[in-house]
Amino acid sequence: MNEMARLQKRRLALYGWMLAAPALALMSLFAFYPAIATFWHSLFSRGTSRRPSVFSGFENYGDLFADPTFWTVATNNLIYAGVTIPVSIIFALVMALWANAHIPARSFVRSAYFTPTILPMIAAANLWLFFYTPDLGVIDQITGFFGASPTNWLGQPETALASVIIVTIWKEAGFFMIFYLAALQTIPPDLREAARIEGAGRWTYTRRVLLPLLMPTTIFVFVNAMINSVKLIDHLFILTKGGPNNASKLILYWIWEMAFAYFDSPHAAAMTILVLLALGLVAVAQFRLVEKRTHYR
């Protein structure tokens, strides 16, 4: 009997592995293997037809740190993350509160907030081109009405990154709103009533009751926004191409440029590893938080 049970158990284990195998194989091929291969290739010099590539240790990383473009791009991406993450979270929260309130034309309001989410980033960039075009664009038409001189929003270093940031916020805030909306719907309305009876004003209620209850959602959205601040770069291809003079260049765009425009894949690989390290840190932090949460689930 015992023997049979053991056999059965082994059969089930085998079955489990077989079911998971196809997915695990593809995942290894396109995520785990490439991650390791990227690291390996980042340790070799760039080969040319005359000189084969040779092992060069961490030289590529040294080159990156010595390159002023690296620092510009890294700073840009930090600013990009530092602005898009909190601003889109705040917008998302405000949108969710409004889209959840009893207001006229609520479903229109809700879809208006959400629509940018389903557009391709490339299309979003095209839409915004219409706003940013100097002199003739919507923004300059409006500011021109008040007597301001036309501005080359995308073409000058002072405003290029900000213009890119605005498009990202516009694109992702509605997406994050959805998660807040879901969370808000699980909060019993009695809570607000109780707070009101206790004499808590609206602001107090939001700060003391709502925000703490929404904390898990905020963490989830925060992690997503963080990943997006690495991932969302498609609009650069249309709006600025990272220019002028690298003023709006972001890391992933730079990796693409190094690998596919300058054919310098060793340095692109080194940069990729740095990004993966950063994402890895985010992953570890996220798992820790999730673990804490699941204990009382």
Binding site: A112, F260, S265
Partner: protein, 282 residues
Amino acid sequence: MKTDTVTANTTLKLPDLDKVLDVLGAWVLAIVWISPLLFAAWAALQPSGTALGLDFSNPLTFENFVYVWGAVPWGGYFTNTVVLVTLILAGQLVLCTLAGFAFARFEFKGRDTVFILVLLQLFILPEVLIVENYAIVSKLGLFDTALGIGLPYMASAFGIFLLRQAFKSVPIELEEAARIEGCSWMGVLWKVYVPAAKPVYLAYALVSIATHWNNFLWPLIVTNSPETRPLTVGLSLFGAPETGVDISVISAATIMTIAPLLMAFLIFQRQFIQAFLRAGIR
């Protein structure tokens, strides 16, 4: 609605200021948020070259759409995108169902470790690994094919995770009942688990379709012919400012690209939002 009875004795007062500000704020933000789309729609209907003037006296025209349709193989791009999205979704559904089932219902050595590796893939973005993935896809001879674009996305950690959760919440009694009736493991999966997870499948499918319809960077890298290029890549080539195409034509092209998805969204709005909710909550 409950509050109506509480505030009934104060209805004679003017609507309170907070409420009015809320409504105003919500509407203004909604209009601001939707305005890029409205402007583009309007610009697309203007004779080319005049659109930016915000001159409402011009007659509306469809010439930009006609021009764009003739200038670029949109029909082909559109087909490519549909094929690509379908292929990815089909692959994801099969692979993630099997793997999700394995992680939810089978005990095997190393399962939890492997599952953590799977979750880790949520952070190793395919977008970041473009350099190596490009090399792999080329080595497999899949460069410039729909399969080459789709394959890296098929074993989706997100899908496995969602389906595992869904399968785990199916009562084990249902499975046992089916097994007593003589169902094999595959039969149990197909007759008990898959039907029970239907809403999750719908949610995941909508999210997957929207994601891959819109995906750009990876398809840009692994395609180089109109025969495989999806809509987003086609649009980016068309819209590049240095080609000197003017804004009303770009707007027309943009509207054409987003129209199918936008229409689907407006029709299935409820399901869409519900789908995104469901996919994100867990």
